[in-house]
Amino acid sequence: MKWFDYAVPQSLAETTHLLSTHPRARPLAGGTDLLVQLRSGAKVTGLVVDVKYVPELNDLSYAPTRGLTLGAAVPCCRIRSDQAVRQAYPALGEVASLLGGTQIQNRASIGGNLCNAAPSADSAPLLIVLRATCRLAGPVGTREIPVEDFCTGPGQSALQSGELLVSFHLPPPPSHFGACYLRFTPRNEMDIAVAGAGAGVELENGTFRSARIALSAVAPTPLFVREAGNWLAGKPANAESINTAAEIAKAAAKPITDMRGTAEYRRHLCAVLTRRALEAAVRRAKEARA
């Protein structure tokens, strides 16, 4: 690994200043992706900016009326064990338990998972179906974008030069809402998704009031399949509608063939996982409080 300097800013302003004045600066949260990439030479840097001491990036707060604010550097272990997350967004706690093993979860953040912008990022489909938005801060101010617009290609994101992902905002879950993210991996743990599917559904008298479906690892970016959710709205929550939505998701997938699986296999998995995720989301929505 080539020499780099290290900075520990204490404020957001200091952070964005460092990032915008050092063109090759890299923010460090848990380091579980960054340090691996620096070591392999996949990324280079002259300055590592440790963002873990910036208050806004460490915020994890929930209010029933406002929803959840999740700082970009909050490690998965905090998310996983947070009472409010477990009650209001159980699927988010599950995703925090999916990223790597225990050691990784004690360091890795959802923000880092998204900033790494891998097509296989497990947190992305779930954040999309939870209607999460990203708050970005840069030298010229802050802006908000939906999670589905954050990744722009493998390893590429909407972050401008000098800009930083500060936090996510998740709206309060509607009544009779359920969500689930499922991924498929050959190993049961410590693996990269061959394909993944997230589903979020709102039920009303046995029909879908709304639904959102998003996929991972089957396109250059995490893929929001808006049309599948739209199609479900107003349909009865039964096997037939779920299967049709799963087929729509499958049709939307644009997977490649690589060492994790063929395009055909991945498309097939999209249908299977979407169906299973929808079934689980529906079960949860039925159990959810009004």
Partner: protein, 749 residues
């Protein structure tokens, strides 16, 4: 000394190295700290096949902190010859060529140059400044491709040896051999059912957790001292001295604790490079392989293409068997296909057999043994066909195997006639194990069985035992300890001496401190070094009888030693009591022995595996697995179970998810422990074990080596279980989810 009244043998004492291992004190390959220590880094080829036109190291040498740079030009040029360290003969030029590439690189990861510097970061950065001008050549990556007419040739001087004779024709096929028993054509003509199938396996890695690591000091007196993580200190010494052009007496190898090896740490890789760097730098140099290099540049085990044809009569007797086995050697000859040919039909008494074996070079790392090298690929093929035959004949798969099981007197196709073996006993134990008849408890579940054989090696071994006045002994041996063999060796001495295992203090010595001892491989260590310890202990007893005789004024032949005491008539002295009188009876006592046993006694092992297949994703879950093995005599049953469980786990990994995923240009795309998917704790159930003991008549305690046989059967057992779960027979490893899914799709049409 064969008896069931052993006091120490068969018990489970705590390992002598245990406290060091659980506290972090044990020193492994990378743990040595020396003053002035430099870090080395090896620059490796980015191409699978290329000619090296020029190497310019000037920028690296000028980089601040760099103390030395070496290339193949720094290796002494000595005349080529055949050398043999027991894995079969190898050309010295190939041995040397794998250390640092000469005019050609033969695989991606082939070492090209190395740098020693004040830190590993500096060394790595400087290595990046070395300019290598490559002429890229077309590469050949699989055995099937490499055997084709017109395939790119790795070596323009590799002449195929056919049936033991050099043919003069240059190709990628290093050797073609054949074993014949009876008349296969006639045997097939007698068969009522014939099954013939084609099998593929891909390159897999031993996956030891500790990367290769070596520290070398080329001293000012011209002596070289190397501390390394290696399976055999003496083999390493001999190989290093050959490569460096030094007499073996100038090289001393101190074996460090070894963090897993499984055959992958027999050959040397970074050791000679560290020595060359040390010579130039005048300081000790340590090289620790990055994990990527462990995958790309050590010795994984061969991928293979095998066809197996077997015929049987309706009465369940196998009449003939035929195998065509082509294994990938990697960059240099030595695919261990000969071992596979020994094992392929070894569990069976088959009158008519023909086996063809091909050792084929490809542009991948030079392969190395991996736990029963060559046997697992062979058993995957043969045991799948055996299972299909049983299915076609409507005979229970264990019953079918029992009907044909090899026993004492059975002749194997490669020549030998079996002495007393435990194949039948292992199969009987599998049949009566509760697992075999337990309900499966759900849909898409299936139970598979398979059996495997490993013949076990024998190597020379040495041992000395020094007696302490307090009745304890120090035991020095030369077998590096990969898994607790210090203890299984010490136990055999303790049994003879009539003391407890804890009263023996075993040490694995360096090459200057003990007699020649073979590599810890071939499941020989507890067998051979244990035998040496047994003999050294007997030597101690013999000398102590003389001391007792002196004390009592008797002839030594009148002294008996039994139950831990020396006796003559009414007189008795315990071992401890007599030790206390050592000084007055002539001073220190040292027992010593060297052994070179001629035969080993092979080991059979079998598995029962329950799987559940997700028919929508193709994912296979292992629900239950039982390993049964003939250990001859289990010296330390806990260690034996550990070997069985470890072999089963590796076998399951090989069966389901492990593979070298190669890009078209010969780049391994998954050279990390994330993407090379060895089983995690979340992927395996508990692993049940059942030790069968059919004593080996050729060992004082009846020991059979146990380390390797347990990996042989699992992939076939898993394949057979998958078939019973969802009705598809997979003939390609790994049987990962996409492969199983594809097979299910194909079946459905």
């Amino acid at each position: 000394m064969k008896t069931d009244d052993y006091v120490v043998v068969g018990t489970r004492p705590i390992r002598h190295d245990g406290a060091d291992k659980v506290t972090g004190r044990a020193l492994f390959g990378a743990d040595l700290q020396l003053s002035g220590l430099l870090d080395g880094y090896v620059l490796r080829s980015p191409h699978a096949h290329a000619r090296i036109r020029r190497i310019d190291v000037s920028k690296a040498l000028a980089f601040p902190g760099v103390k030395a740079v070496v290339t193949a030009a720094d290796l002494p040029q000595c005349p080529d010859r055949l050398v043999d360290y027991g894995e079969g003969p190898m050309r010295l030029r190939h041995l040397r060529g794998n250390i640092l590439a000469g005019d050609k690189v033969l695989y991606k990861g082939h070492a090209v140059a190395a740098v020693a510097a004040t830190s590993r970061h500096v060394a790595e950065e400087a290595a990046g400044l070395i300019e290598v001008d490559y002429e890229i050549l077309p590469c050949t990556l699989t055995v099937v491709e490499a055997m084709r007419e017109g395939a790119p040739l790795l070596h323009d001087d590799l002449r195929t040896v056919e049936f033991g004779e050099e043919t003069g024709s240059v190709s990628n096929v290093a050797e073609h051999f054949r074993h014949v028993l009876g008349n296969a054509d006639q045997g097939f003509a007698e068969a009522d059912v014939i099954v013939e199938r084609e099998f593929h396996t891909v390159t897999v890695h031993q996956g030891y957790l500790e990367p290769q690591a070596a520290t070398a000091l080329w001293n000012n007196d011209g002596r070289v001292h190397i501390w390394c993580s290696i399976q055999g200190a003496f083999w390493a010494r001999d190989a290093i001295s050959l490569i460096l052009g030094l007499p073996p007496s100038r090289v001393k190898v101190t074996p460090m604790e070894v963090g897993g090896a499984f055959g992958g740490k027999i050959r040397v890789y970074v050791e000679p490079v560290a020595a060359l760097l040390s010579k130039k730098a005048g300081r000790p140099v340590r090289i620790v392989m990055p994990r990527r290099d462990v995958f790309e540049a050590t010795g994984p085990t061969p991928g293979s293409y095998t066809t197996v044809k077997m015929g049987a009569r309706t009465d369940g007797r196998i009449t003939a068997a035929q195998a065509y086995m082509a294994y990938e050697a990697g960059a240099y000859p030595g695919a261990m296909v000969g071992f596979g040919a020994i094992c392929v039909f070894a569990p069976y008494d088959i009158p008519n057999v023909v086996i063809d074996g091909f050792d084929v070079v490809v542009n991948k790392p030079s392969t190395a043994p991996y736990r029963a090298p060559g046997a697992t690929q062979a058993a995957f093929a043969a045991e799948s066909v055996v299972d299909e035959l049983a299915e076609r004949l409507g005979i229970d798969p264990i019953e079918f195997r029992l009907k044909n099981a090899a026993k004492e007197g059975t002749r194997r196709a490669d020549g030998p006639k079996y002495p007393r073996i435990g194949c039948l006993e292992v199969l009987e134990a599998m049949k009566t194990h509760p697992h075999y008849t337990a309900p499966l408890g759900g849909p898409n579940r299936g139970r598979g069985v398979a059996v495997g054989f490993w013949f076990n090696f024998t190597f020379p071994a040495s041992c000395t035992i020094s007696v302490n006045a307090d009745g304890t002994v120090g035991l020095i041996e030369g077998s590096t300890d990969l898994s607790g063999t210090r203890t299984s060796i010490a136990m055999q001495a303790a049994e003879v001496l009539g003391i407890c295992a804890g009263d023996v203090n075993p040490t694995v010595a360096d090459t200057d401190s003990i007699g020649y001892t073979g590599v810890t491989a071939g499941s020989h260590t507890t067998f051979d070094s244990g035998w040496a310890a047994y003999e050294a202990a007997r030597d101690v007893i013999r000398q102590m009888k003389e001391r007792a005789a002196l004390l009592w004024g008797l002839d030594p032949t009148s002294i008996e030693f039994a139950g831990g005491a020396f006796r003559a008539g009414e007189r008795a002295l315990t071992f401890k009591e007599l030790c206390a009188r050592m000084d007055e009876t002539g001073g220190p006592i040292i027992g010593r022995a060297t052994v070179k046993p001629a035969s080993t006694g092979g080991s059979f092992a079998g598995n029962i595996v329950d799987v559940e297949v997700d028919p929508e994703t193709g994912k296979v879950s292992i629900l239950r697995i039982t390993s049964v093995q003939d250990a001859g005599k289990a010296i330390h049953p806990g260690c034996v179970e550990g070997q069985m469980q470890g072999g089963a786990a590796q076998g399951v990994g090989w069966a389901l998810n492990e593979e070298y995923f190669m890009g078209p240009e010969g780049t391994m795309l998954n050279s990390s422990l994330l993407d090379y998917r060895t089983p995690t704790s979340a992927d395996l159930p508990m692993i049940e074990t059942l030790i069968v003991e059919v004593p080996n008549p050729d060992h004082p305690f009846g020991v059979r080596g146990v380390g390797e046989a347990p990996i042989v059967a699992p992939p076939a057992a898993v394949a057979n279980a998958i078939n019973r779960a969802v009705g598809v027979r997979l003939q390609r490893l790994p049987m990962n989810p996409p492969a199983v899914m594809e097979a299910i799709w194909k079946k459905k049409g």
